[in-house]
Every structure is written in C-alpha cells, then in structure tokens.
C-alpha cells in the first residue's frame, strides 16, 4: 500500500478503471466525454462548473485536472476564483439554510 492516499501520478491512470470492467468503464468514459462537449453550455462554462464542483467535493484529482483545463482554455485566475466562491457560497448556504430547521425546532420546544 502506498504511503499517502493520493498520488498525482494516479490521475493519469484513471482510464485503467476499465481494465476490471470494460463495459461499464467504456460507458462511463463515453458519457463523460459527451457531457463536456459543446452544447447549450460552452465547453468553457462546463470547465468552470467542473472546477467549482471539484472544490465542493474536494477531489484533488479533479482540482488538478480542471485547473489545468481552465488555463488551457484561457480562463483567468479571477474567473476561477469567482467560480470557487459560487461553490463556497452554496456550500456555506447549505449549512446556514438548515438554521431555519433549527429555529423551527427551538420555537416549537421553547415556551
């Protein structure tokens, strides 16, 4: 077993997951490729969404991949950071909005 849970070199081996189940691996990568194609949203917009989601799920592989992808597309660091704040706002908001549940409960129980 390796000494750390994450090794940057493993990102390059992502495709190998198909080795143990070719059918599902292929379906996944076909789907993945299709998702990121230009559609109603541009590839650029999708790259920024991916970067924000990567930070939300705190996936080091995805952060590595979509930071590089963004630079290649000419996305600026200002745009990247704004995308992250969207992720952070939703994530923080998700905690805080549950405060309403807390308040409801307190209001119900307190005299």
């Amino acid at each position: 077993m390796q000494k750390t849970y994450y090794d940057p070199a493993d990102l390059k081996k992502f495709g190998k997951i198909s080795d143990w189940n070719e059918e599902l691996g292929k379906k996944f990568f076909d789907y993945y490729g299709k998702v990121f194609e230009e559609g109603a949203l541009s590839e650029r917009e999708k790259s920024l969404i991916a970067l924000a989601v990567a930070h939300t799920i705190q996936c080091p592989y995805c952060i590595d991949a979509y930071t590089g992808d963004g630079l290649q597309r000419g996305i600026t660091k200002e745009e990247m950071m704004e995308a992250l704040h969207v992720a952070a706002a939703i994530r923080g908001g998700a905690s805080l909005v549950h405060g309403v549940q807390m308040m409801n409960k307190v209001n119900k129980l307190e005299m």
Partner: protein, 351 residues
Amino acid sequence: MATTSLHKRESELANSKRQLEILSNGIFQSGDLPKFSEKIAETNQFPLKAKTLEVLQINVGYMCNQVCQHCHVDAGPDRKEIMTKETMLQCLEVIKKTGAHTLDLTGGAPEMNPNFRWFVDEASKVGIKDFIVRSNLTIIKANKRFADLPEFFKSHNVHVVSSMPHWTRGKTDKQRGSGVFNQSIEALKELNAIGYGMPDSNLRLDLVYNPSGAFLPSSQTSLERDFKKALLEDFNIQFHNLFAITNLPISRFLDYLIASDNYEDYMYSLVEAYNPAAVKNVMCTNTLSVSWDGYLYDCDFNQMLELPVNSAVKHISDYNEDLLFNRDIVISQHCYGCTAGAGSSCQGSVA
C-alpha cells in the same frame, strides 16, 4: 522577470548542446517516455521526410525590443546576430526562383534589422503569394522611427502576424513584460484604422497565442472565438485568425520549465497529447528556415538548437530546392511540441 537573454546572462541553457542533452537524458534515457523517433516509428512515420517546399521562413536577426519569458529564440535587445545585406541579397535570389507560396520574415523583431525596409521592398517585387512579417506589435510604439510601420506594411501588402498571449493585461504582461498589453492594444487599433484585420479586408492581420505557462493550448477555434469576443467588446479591435502555438521545450521556455519544476510534467503532457495525425502535417515537412547568417534548418526551433538540415545543401548561397526535397528531417524530443493535440506550427494547428 529577466530583462536580458540567456546568452547575456551566460546561462548554461544558452548552449544548444546542453539543451539537447537535457532533451535526451532523464525521462527519455530511462525509457519512462519514448523518444520522438520511437513514437513516430510506431505509425511508420520515421524518418520524417521533407515534402514540396511551401513556406520559406527567414530569420533576419535575434535582436528584439522585448524579452519574453517563453521565447525560443532567446531574443532581446542584447542580441547582436543580425542578417547582413549580403545575405539578404542571397535570400532574394532564392525568393525569385523558389516554388514556395509563402515568404515568412521573423526574428527577434525583424523590423530592428537596419535593412529590413529595403529587404521587404525588394522581396515584395517578386510577387510571392503570401508575404508574412511576424511583428510583435510593441515595436510600432517602441520608437518614433517605427511609428509608420502600419502604413509601410500596407503599402507592400504585407500579411501581419502578431503575438498576443491573452486578451487580459495581467496574463500578457506576465509573459511578455510590463506595459506590453497596452502598447499591443494601441498598435492593433492603428492597424485596424488603416484596414488591417477588418472583415472582408485583404490586409491580413492574424494573432498568435502562446500559453503563458506550463500548459498546452486548447482548441484554436474556441480560443479564437474568445479572443475575438473579448477584443471587440473591450477595445473594439478586430483581427482575422488566431494561431494557437504550443510552447516548445527549448531555450527560455526550457529554462522556465526547469526553474519552476515543471519540465517532467510538461514533457509527459506533450507525449500524452501526441497525435499521429498531426505528424503528417508538421511544418518542417513543407518549410525551410534560414538563419541570420544564411544557414538552412528544418524549422526555426532547429535553428535555435543549431541542428542544420540533413542535406548536401547547408547554406542559402548553395540553395537547391531539388536537393533539399525528400531530405530526412532532423528531430529530437522538442518535436513533441508540434505533434501534441491538434498539432502546432507557425501557422497554428495542423490536425
């Protein structure tokens, strides 16, 4: 940011032999990554052969008003290699008889050669189909004596190809030096004002995009769309096409890759993005590069690595297109830069 060339700093990377050693040792010597010759042999494309000449590219000198971080020429104000009028006369003889449809003048800043205007004047009389000058834009604003360059280009129907690494100031100045963005914008406005780059105009103005760091360019088409939208909205500037060019791991870009500990990852990304379809159209197969002192190379990158053509003809004074045809192209691991993804050449993507 350095303001002198590697040559001036006497850096070990100013030595082309040292660069070639680096490109052959380490991950390529250990077999972690295949050598370029092995990679193209997989698809029976080794040796690469020169096809019919289409582009004659002449480097009229390494002197430049800028010291860009990624420059493969290691150009700068301190470089003294300048093509003489005598060599230019030899080039003109070749331009008159070549079958190439494109003449491409580069540098350094070609305009800094004292005989530049005379040379353009003479070369334009030959009537070559596409006459390119690679102008860095800021030269137009560098000194009063260059201020009329847009009009000069127009009067000779020169196709202007200019570098513009990003549509934002921050990314541009970081790669090319403080103030470069504003000056480039001003120069582009002047070129637009006399018709360059305007829709339906015959005065061609194309921009070149190089990534400002250790990453590859993405699709040329989408980058062109982003550049056009931003430059039009922010500055009311128009241009014809964008050429997305991959930075090759030589000279100052190699120096940057090593200093920033990005060299191995960058070579991995180039090899991973290797595209055999791009090999079919690499520019060395239809281009010849002439150095400031008249020697012949398969491309401008080989010129900087001092890898001359593999032919009995070595110098412009002995030029013979028939003998140069079908020669074996000289390659090393830097060639992966031209075959990554959609491929890369001085005219942009190739696949």
